[in-house]
C-alpha cells in the first residue's frame, strides 16, 4: 500500500495547528530515537475540555501529518476522551496501513499528547 496518500501529503506540506500556544496549560514532547522524529504538544485545557492544541517539531511525513490531523480531531473533546484514544484511532484517522516500524511515527503525536496531559505548566 502506498502510504503517501494525498491527504497525508497535504497535511505534511501545509500542517494545521502548527506552532506554540501562548496560553498553554499543558506541554510535553515525544521522540522517536530511531529516526529523530519529534512532536511537541501544547494544550490549553479549561473545564476539562481541550480548548486549544498546537504541535511543533520535525520529522517524516507520517509523523507530521498525523500530528496535524490529530490536533484537528481532538480540539474540543474532553480530557477523558483524549486519554482513551489509542493507536487504532490514529490508523482510522490516517486511513492507511502502517508497518510496525512506521506505526511509531504515526502514534508519536498520541504519545506526546498523553504525556502533556500529565505535565501541567507550573505558573
Amino acid at each position: 500500500m502506498n502510504i503517501y496518500q494525498e491527504q497525508i501529503l497535504e497535511h505534511y506540506k501545509d500542517p494545521q495547528n502548527y506552532g506554540v500556544l501562548k496560553n498553554a496549560t499543558h506541554r510535553d514532547y515525544a521522540l522517536n530515537p530511531t529516526c529523530g522524529d519529534k512532536v511537541c504538544i501544547d494544550m490549553h485545557i479549561k473545564k476539562n475540555i481541550i480548548q486549544d492544541i498546537a504541535f511543533s517539531g520535525s520529522g517524516c511525513a507520517i509523523s507530521q501529518a498525523a500530528a496535524s490531523m490529530f490536533t484537528q480531531k481532538v480540539k474540543g473533546i474532553t480530557v477523558e476522551n483524549l486519554t482513551m484514544m489509542n493507536k487504532d484511532d490514529i490508523l482510522k484517522m490516517l486511513e492507511i496501513e502502517l508497518s510496525m516500524n512506521r506505526l511509531k511515527c504515526g502514534v508519536l503525536v498520541l504519545e506526546a499528547s498523553h504525556r502533556a496531559l500529565h505535565n501541567p505548566i507550573k505558573l
Binding site: 500500500m1 502510504i3 503517501y4 530511531t34 529516526c35 522524529d37 520529522g59 517524516c60 507520517i62 511515527c105
Partner: protein, 401 residues
C-alpha cells in the same frame, strides 16, 4: 566491468529476485556456501566443543579452532591464540571497556565524533573523563584536534577504521604512530566492523592494541565476531563474563582462570556462527579483498556522480572517492529520510537505511540534522542497482515537490 554475477551466490536473491539491497553496512546478505557450512555443523557434528572425548566433539572442536587460524590470517595477527570469539563488535567493545585497567576509575578515554554507539556508549559509561575528537569540513578526523586531546595521561584511544555514516577511511596507521609519539603507553582500539568486509587489514602494520569486527557484516551469520588483541594486553583484561570453559580450577574458596583466548570465552559459544564466520572468511579470501575493494571503489565513484546530479541532494562524507568506502549518507531537500526509504522500498524494491545509523552524536552535534538516508555496498551490487536508485530518488523528489 563486473564479470561474475555474485547475486547468484546469495539465496536472498532467489526469494526476492528484484531486490536491490543497498544496506550492507547494517548487515550483509549471506551466501549459500556459508549457510551450508553452518548446516553441516548442525546435521553432521553438532556437539559441544572442548568438553567431550568422543570423535564428534573432536570434530566440532577442530572445525571451531580452525576458524581461529583463518581469522588470524585474515587480519595478519601473529598468533591465533590472540583471536577471541565474541558475539560481535558490540560484545568485543564491551569486553574492552569493562576489562582494561579495571581498577582505574577515572581514566582518560578518547573516542571520535564519528563513532558508532557501540564504540561510544561503553566507554562513556566507563569513565567520567571521556572526550571526543572532532571531524573537519571534509568529514575526516581533525588530526590537529586529535594531537591536542591526546596527553601523557590518555589511557585509551578508540577509532573506527571506517565510519559507518560518512564512509571516511581513517588514516589509522598514521594516527597510531602520532598517538604513540605523544604517549607510548596509550592503548589503541580499532573498530573494524565496517572495514573488515571491504579493505585488507594488517594489525601488525597498524600497530593497534585491539581490533574487532562482526561476522554479519562480512557475509557471515549474526551473533558472531572477533576480538583481536596483542597477547600481553589480552592477558591483562578482566573477563566480562565468567563461568564454564574459561576456568582451569574452581574450588569453594577461589577460581583460577585459563589462559587467553579461553579466559575471555565463557560458556558454550555460538559454535555454528563461528564456523559460519570461518566460511565467510574463506568466501572473501576466494574472491580476494583487493578485487572486492576495487569493485566497491568503482561503485562508490559511480554512485557519488549519480547522486550529485540530483538537485537538492546533499552528501555527508568526503566528496573525493579517495580514502572513502562504499557508504554514502545523504539528505534530499527537506524530505525526511524515512520517507525517502519508504518510497524507495514500496515502489522500487530498494532497501536503504534511514535514521541516525547508531551515530546520534555525529548527526545531532556535528552534522546538525536528525537523520540521513544511507546506501552501502556489498559484493553483489552493480551499476544497474545505482541507476535504479537514481530513478527512485527522482520519484521521491517528485512526490514531495
Amino acid at each position: 566491468m563486473q564479470t561474475i554475477n555474485y547475486k547468484e551466490k546469495f539465496p536472498m536473491y532467489v526469494a526476492h529476485p528484484d531486490l536491490i539491497y543497498l544496506d550492507s553496512a547494517a548487515t550483509s546478505l549471506t551466501p549459500q556456501i556459508v549457510l551450508d557450512k553452518m548446516n553441516d555443523y548442525y546435521t553432521q557434528y553438532g556437539t559441544n566443543i572442548s568438553r567431550g572425548v568422543y570423535s564428534l566433539c573432536e570434530e566440532a572442536t577442530t572445525q571451531y579452532e580452525l576458524v581461529r587460524e583463518k581469522a588470524a590470517a585474515f587480519i595478519h595477527a601473529p598468533s591465533d591464540q590472540e583471536i577471541i570469539f565474541t558475539t560481535g563488535t558490540t560484545h568485543s567493545l564491551n569486553i574492552l571497556a569493562h576489562g582494561i585497567s579495571p581498577d582505574e576509575s577515572d581514566m582518560h578515554i578518547l573516542a571520535t565524533a564519528m563513532d558508532h554507539h557501540a564504540n561510544f556508549v561503553p566507554w562513556q559509561n566507563r569513565t567520567k573523563n571521556f572526550e571526543v575528537i572532532n571531524i573537519d569540513k571534509d568529514y575526516r578526523l581533525d588530526l590537529s584536534n586529535l594531537a591536542k586531546k591526546i596527553t601523557s595521561k590518555t589511557a585509551v584511544l578508540t577509532i573506527p577504521l571506517i565510519s559507518n555514516v560518512l564512509g571516511t577511511i581513517n588514516p589509522v596507521q598514521k594516527i597510531i604512530s602520532l598517538a604513540r609519539e605523544i604517549n607510548p603507553q596509550i592503548i589503541v582500539v580499532i573498530d573494524a566492523a565496517q572495514a573488515a568486509p571491504h579493505i585488507p587489514i594488517d594489525v601488525q602494520k597498524l600497530d593497534c592494541d585491539f581490533l574487532t569486527f562482526s561476522a554479519h557484516k562480512l557475509y557471515g551469520p549474526t551473533g558472531a565476531g572477533i576480538l583481536w588483541g596483542k597477547k600481553e594486553k589480552l592477558q591483562n583484561i578482566r573477563p566480562l563474563l565468567t563461568g564454564g570453559d574459561m576456568i582451569s580450577e574452581v574450588s569453594s574458596s577461589k577460581t583460577q582462570y585459563r589462559n587467553i583466548p579461553h579466559k575471555l570465552e565463557a560458556g558454550t559459544p555460538n559454535i555454528a556462527g563461528i564456523i559460519g564466520l570461518g566460511a565467510a572468511i574463506d568466501f572473501i579470501q576466494s574472491i580476494g579483498l583487493k578485487k572486492i575493494q576495487k569493485n566497491e571503489e568503482m561503485l562508490t565513484k559511480y554512485a557519488l556522480n549519480s547522486l550529485r546530479k540530483i538537485s537538492g541532494l546533499k552528501i555527508y562524507g568526503p566528496q573525493d572517492a579517495n580514502d572513502r568506502a562504499g557508504v554514502v549518507s545523504f539528505t534530499l531537500k527537506n524530505i525526511h529520510p524515512h520517507d525517502i526509504a519508504s518510497i524507495l522500498d514500496t515502489q522500487y524494491n530498494i532497501a536503504v537505511r534511514a535514521g541516525n545509523h547508531c551515530a546520534m552524536p555525529l548527526h545531532i552535534e556535528t552534522l546538525d540534522i536528525p537523520a540521513t538516508a544511507r546506501i552501502s555496498f556489498g559484493i553483489y551490487n552493480t551499476i544497474e542497482d545505482i541507476d535504479t536508485l537514481e530513478k527512485g530518488l527522482y520519484k521521491v523528489s517528485e512526490i514531495f515537490s
